[in-house]
């Protein structure tokens, strides 16, 4: 069974069948349905190998994330998948734990497998690694990239401004002794959040010395541990900004365990807006990180490049704005701003 026979049976041209296979969105839904029914009745499946050779495309894109169990990366994957499905692209997923050597190896194997394009999330790659893609004319889009990587397609969010906004919110409510709990990973992202914290505290004329900053592994346990260390030092605190919701949940647990209340004794603001953050007690004020939208936009940017077949097109950096999600853990009582 080949494409010509399908076209004959469906009473359309080979080109139309080809469009159903390659650009289904460009065919009227009714026609598409009819052709798909004919294909099914004839048990026709395109010869993907031959097709790949002819189009010089494999219909596969790859997504590389630091780790798989992180909800934020799953949201990115969902965004990529939602676009890929519309574009009839399959996705290969790889995790690399921000390990540059592992990233390079994975990318090489992707190139050998002739994928159509690649989305790289929070990687440890350096500027000189970029030649790898350029030599292969491989379309690449970075999400939350290392700022050193310039002249590439990137989808970013404003971690520094978002962190400063979160800390400013604590200051506006009236908190003055505000600590920072930061995760060791992802590195660049947390570095920007640290900068945002310093900037907001500096502008308000508040203490932001090293003793107020704790670094731990980016997990619930890490947050618990960091809060324990902050409290054990006996430093008076009335607020803490935490670089991830998971760590913030751990930190809140520690505060409660010490017999103190959130937010009355210590206010807490997280970062990510995980689903669970709206259910913990008190509900966590956090920065909604637009991960899903970043996934959508990165996949769109990538499929644009693939479809237009110009990997050397002018690179774009698209900034997706995050949003402060005001709930209860920060101690605000202004329900109005919570609604908007």
């Amino acid at each position: 069974m080949n494409i010509k026979e399908v076209a004959n049976r469906a009473g359309v041209s080979v080109a139309t069948i080809s469009r159903v296979l390659n650009h289904p969105e460009s065919v009227a839904p009714a026609t598409r349905k009819r052709i798909e029914a004919v294909m099914e009745s004839l048990d026709y499946t395109p010869n993907w190998f031959a097709r790949g050779l002819k189009l010089n495309r494999t219909g596969t894109i790859a997504l590389m994330v630091p780790e798989i169990l992180d909800q934020g990366y799953m949201e990115i994957a969902k965004g990529v998948e939602d676009v890929a499905r519309q574009k009839d692209q399959n996705i290969i997923l790889a995790t690399t734990e921000e390990d540059r050597n592992r990233e390079l190896k994975t990318i090489e194997s992707f190139i050998e497998r002739k994928i159509d394009g690649l989305i790289i999330v929070s990687s440890a790659l350096t500027k000189k690694d970029l030649t790898l893609f350029r030599n292969q004319k491989m379309p690449v889009v970075f999400i939350s990239k290392n700022p050193e990587l310039t002249g590439v397609n990137g989808v970013l969010t404003n971690y520094r401004e978002a962190a400063a906004e979160a800390v400013n919110h604590l200051i506006e409510i009236g908190h003055r002794r505000i600590a920072l709990i930061r995760g060791t990973k992802p590195f660049n992202e947390n570095k920007e959040k640290l900068d945002g914290y310093h900037q907001a505290m500096e502008n308000a004329g508040l203490d932001h010395s090293d003793g107020l900053i704790m670094e731990e592994e980016n997990t619930i346990e890490g947050g618990f541990l960091a809060m324990s260390r902050l409290l054990s030092e006996g430093r008076p605190l009335d607020g803490v900004f935490v670089t991830s919701d998971n760590m913030a949940i751990g930190a809140m647990d520690k505060i409660k365990q010490m017999g103190m209340r959130v937010p009355e004794d210590i206010a807490v603001v997280g970062f990510d807006n995980l689903k669970i953050s709206g259910y913990v007690e008190p509900k966590l004020t956090t920065v909604a990180k637009p991960m899903y939208r970043m996934g959508l936009v990165a996949a769109r940017l990538l499929t644009d490049i693939i479809e237009e077949d110009r990997p050397e097109a002018e690179p774009q950096e698209i900034l997706i704005q995050s949003k402060l999600k005001i709930r209860k853990s920060c101690g605000h009582e202004d329900r109005f701003s919570e609604i908007f």
């Binding site: 460009s26 519309q86 637009p290 769109r300 908007f340």
Partner: protein, 371 residues
């Protein structure tokens, strides 16, 4: 003699554009608008990330509509197909897009241009979903969003403004300075349409945007202000349901208008009557083009201290009221200047201070203000 209108370099067969909204939510609806005679259609606002549709999301109070729907519910990939369908009637399609940063909105606009949009409207004036202050309340933000788009696309760019701001002229100037080709105003107005007092619950679950006939006076004031502040053409929006309403906006400076809520409440067939009435009006006055009346009412808008102090008073109609028991004019007169005798009203020329309210309230329309 025709309704043909030049707008931002686009040739429209008439000045009536269908506004962004649920009635322009896909290619088929846009096609319906063209078949009903629309001069152009703005798509429902297209965004990168879809919002879930809450239910219910529309409420009507007998005059206006509250809407809490956030943007289009179709993916951009789906719009690629829908825009082809929308364009199949050959009409002018304006893609409405919204995003919070210049780079993101630029991306969306560029994408819409590539898939066939004839123009872009920046839908940055929604009163919900974007924080207490609407995006278009900051001249700086409007400037940078507009500039990013104008520098990227080759098609005309129109910026939609909100009435929920203190100085709409400043925002309009920021858009013009950034290179916008037109301004549309106004978007829906932030509202809570009502509270069900039996349950103590608002009629819809959150703040929304109010549209329809009650917002026309707000739209007219905004359009007049914008038309007096910028040189780029203005597209008037807000409460238009008749040809007369279209003319009101034009006389206050609009080149084109947008209709949304009237279409939602009465269907696209409403366009036929409006267009026929507009043509008739134009023919009766022997106007080659409606542009001849554009802005004529602006010349009549005066500063408070320029208003001539004429000793006008309401005059006795000199005929019977159709309803002998009607007391409307008497009840509204705070100067106690009107009495009724033998089914006929008498206006005391010493007491009347010429405020004009009875003239508008009289169901027979028989009271006149003169001197």
């Amino acid at each position: 003699m025709s309704l043909t209108t030049d707008f931002m370099g686009l040739k429209l067969k008439n000045p009536i554009i269908i506004a962004a909204g649920p009635w322009s939510r896909n290619g088929d609806m846009v096609r319906r608008a063209f078949r009903a005679g629309a001069g152009a259609v703005v798509t429902e606002t297209i965004v990168n990330e879809l919002n879930p549709d809450v239910r219910p999301r529309l409420a009507y109070d007998g005059r206006g509509v509250q809407n809490i729907r956030l943007y289009s519910d179709m993916l951009i990939e789906e719009w690629e197909r829908e825009l082809t369908i929308a364009k199949s009637e050959g009409g002018v399609v304006i893609a409405s897009v919204c995003a919070q940063t210049p780079s993101e909105i630029k991306y969306l606009a560029q994408k819409m241009e590539r898939i066939g949009a004839d123009a872009i409207e920046l839908g940055v004036a929604s009163p919900m979903g974007e924080g207490v202050e609407v995006i278009a309340s900051s001249p700086e933000r409007v400037f940078e969003l507009t500039k990013a788009v104008v520098e990227t696309v080759k098609i005309p760019v129109m910026v939609k403004l909100s009435q929920n701001v203190s100085n709409i002229a400043r925002i309009a100037r920021a858009a013009e300075k950034a290179g916008a080709h037109g301004i549309s105003a106004i978007d829906t107005v932030r509202c809570i349409i009502g509270v069900d007092v039996s349950t103590g619950k608002p009629m819809l679950a959150t703040y929304g945007g109010y549209s329809g006939i009650p917002i026309k006076p707000l739209g007219l004031a905004s359009v007049a202000t914008i038309a007096q502040s910028v040189k780029i053409p203005v597209c008037g929006i807000g409460g238009i349901a008749t040809a007369g309403n279209v003319l009101e906006y034009m006389m206050l400076g609009a080149t084109t208008v947008q209709i949304g809520t009237a279409v939602m409440l009465e269907g696209y067939q409403i366009l036929e009557g409006i267009l026929a009435d507009l043509e008739k009006w134009q023919r009766e006055r022997n106007l080659t083009s409606l542009s001849e009346i554009r802005g004529i009412a602006l010349e009549e808008l005066k500063a408070f201290d320029e208003i001539a102090l004429e000793p006008k008073t309401a005059k006795d109609p000199g005929k019977d009221c159709s309803d002998p028991n009607c007391r409307k004019c008497m009840d509204c007169c705070v100067y106690d200047g009107i009495v009724k005798k033998d089914g006929r009203i008498r206006i005391d020329q010493e007491l009347c201070r010429g405020c004009g309210l009875c003239v508008d309230l009289c169901p027979d329309g028989i009271i006149e203000l003169k001197w």
